[in-house]
Symmetry: C2
């Protein structure tokens, strides 16, 4: 019979841990003195303790270990749990690997550019867009389309966020097709050429840019390089959400806030 401290030293675990395992019913002492509460462990319990340690190192939670230690768990069932655990562990390993590569990407990004690009991967929020779509000669020409949208929406436009969607990917090489619109939470009825459609929810890379439109070309440049380096691939039209629009007359360019969303998927 060993006192808790002896047993802990023998096994290489802390006294606190043994008390916790007792409380959780994972490893009860061989005897507990009813009067003093002192725990006494028997040598034979060391094998159970060691099995617990092994299962912990394999990454099982204490509650799972408790089940695995129950009598009546066959070798086949144990195998099943282990295979499940292996799949989880493989996922974790992949994640940790991605994380490491993300860290390295950011280190090299800072080395090159002086600071990192805050690109976040996420799903776009669901919603409806009231928009006009047209072929354009230049990007600036999109300004021509917004009055049509605002003309039909009137007051209701205030509740939405202005958006531009650019179809300038691989499909349309030489021409610029743009949509000017406003994102709303619910659909509304509008007349041609304005349409109201559900904005597809897509997995995208998102970047928030603060500053005027003149810097967009440079930002897109870095952004697409970032996507390339992250092992991703553009798979849809880019969106620009104009979250805040400054007053150009006063020249407070810094008060422009635009979220750029580029739909992406993992490169095959």
């Amino acid at each position: 019979m060993f006192a808790i401290g002896e047993f802990a030293r023998l096994a290489g675990v802390s006294v606190k841990t043994l008390r916790y395992w007792d409380e959780q019913g994972l490893l009860k002492p061989a005897r507990t003195d009813a009067a003093t509460g002192y725990r006494k462990y028997g040598a034979a319990q060391l094998s159970r303790l060691n099995r617990i340690l092994v299962l912990k190192e394999l990454g099982f939670a204490l509650s799972q270990i408790e089940k695995l230690l129950e009598d009546g768990v066959s070798a086949a069932e144990m195998q099943g749990m282990l295979r499940l655990r292996r799949a989880e562990q493989e996922d974790r390993l992949r994640e940790e690997n991605l994380r490491l590569r993300a860290i390295e990407q950011r280190i090299s990004d800072i080395s090159r550019e002086g600071e990192g690009l805050d690109v976040v991967l996420k799903e776009t929020a669901p919603g409806y867009v009231v928009r006009v779509k047209d072929r354009l000669e230049s990007y600036e020409e999109i300004a021509r389309l917004y009055p049509l949208v605002y003309g039909q929406l009137g007051m209701r436009a205030a509740a939405g966020i202005p958006i531009a969607v650019w179809h300038c990917g691989a499909e349309q090489k030489d021409e610029i097709v743009g949509e000017a619109g406003v994102v709303l939470e619910e659909a509304v009825a509008v007349a041609a050429p304005v349409e109201c459609v559900a904005l597809p929810v897509v997995h995208c890379a998102s970047l928030v840019h603060r500053g005027s439109f003149e810097q967009f070309a440079g930002v897109y440049n870095r952004f697409s390089r970032w996507i390339e380096e992250a092992g991703l691939e553009i798979n849809g039209p880019c969106r620009e959400l104009y979250l805040k629009i400054g007053n150009p007359v006063r020249g407070d360019d810094e008060s422009y806030v635009t979220e750029m969303q580029i739909p992406v998927e993992k490169r095959a």
Copy 2:
């Protein structure tokens, strides 16, 4: 200005998270209504939020992120933090990899043997051993040595754990050199041929065996195979701690409990 719910949807985080970050001082709303407590977020805060998300994905804790977001953190300092973080991440990755391999080892162990071997890696507990060392013709012959130890220790032997140490590794191929002893917490004075020396603390693989000595050969077989497969290498004399000794007359072999310790290191 966005209400908390809107802002959360926009950013793809939960309302709870935004409130928590506010409480932690990580991301304060642009305005908080003093009367109602309602939080209002500005579009410009989305870039800070995204930076937080990026740093979180890189594995930084919120407290570290708070420091990294302070003004006055230069690109060089950020680089330093990232390199530190990379080192941590590499360690984690190694650990997760080891864990995965341990899971796979156990799966194959069960497939082959019907059940896994509960081998635990640990440091041996510190202590002193009162022992006699000698060359033996057979393993059983060690029984001859114990009376010398017990003769000198007398009553004090009851406080210790009987141990055998086997020098049968690569150094001594053809001969068996064994030590019979008792492990005590403190040194005592003894006369030759009995000695009292500190038991070196070593990193070892430990296995608790329940059953009589006749099964030892088989257990050692599996044990050393396990060590081999785990990518380890034996680098010292093996120890056997007799934690509980059954009554051979009654034949209750199952009440023998022996801990086998094999000093190991990573194979180069």
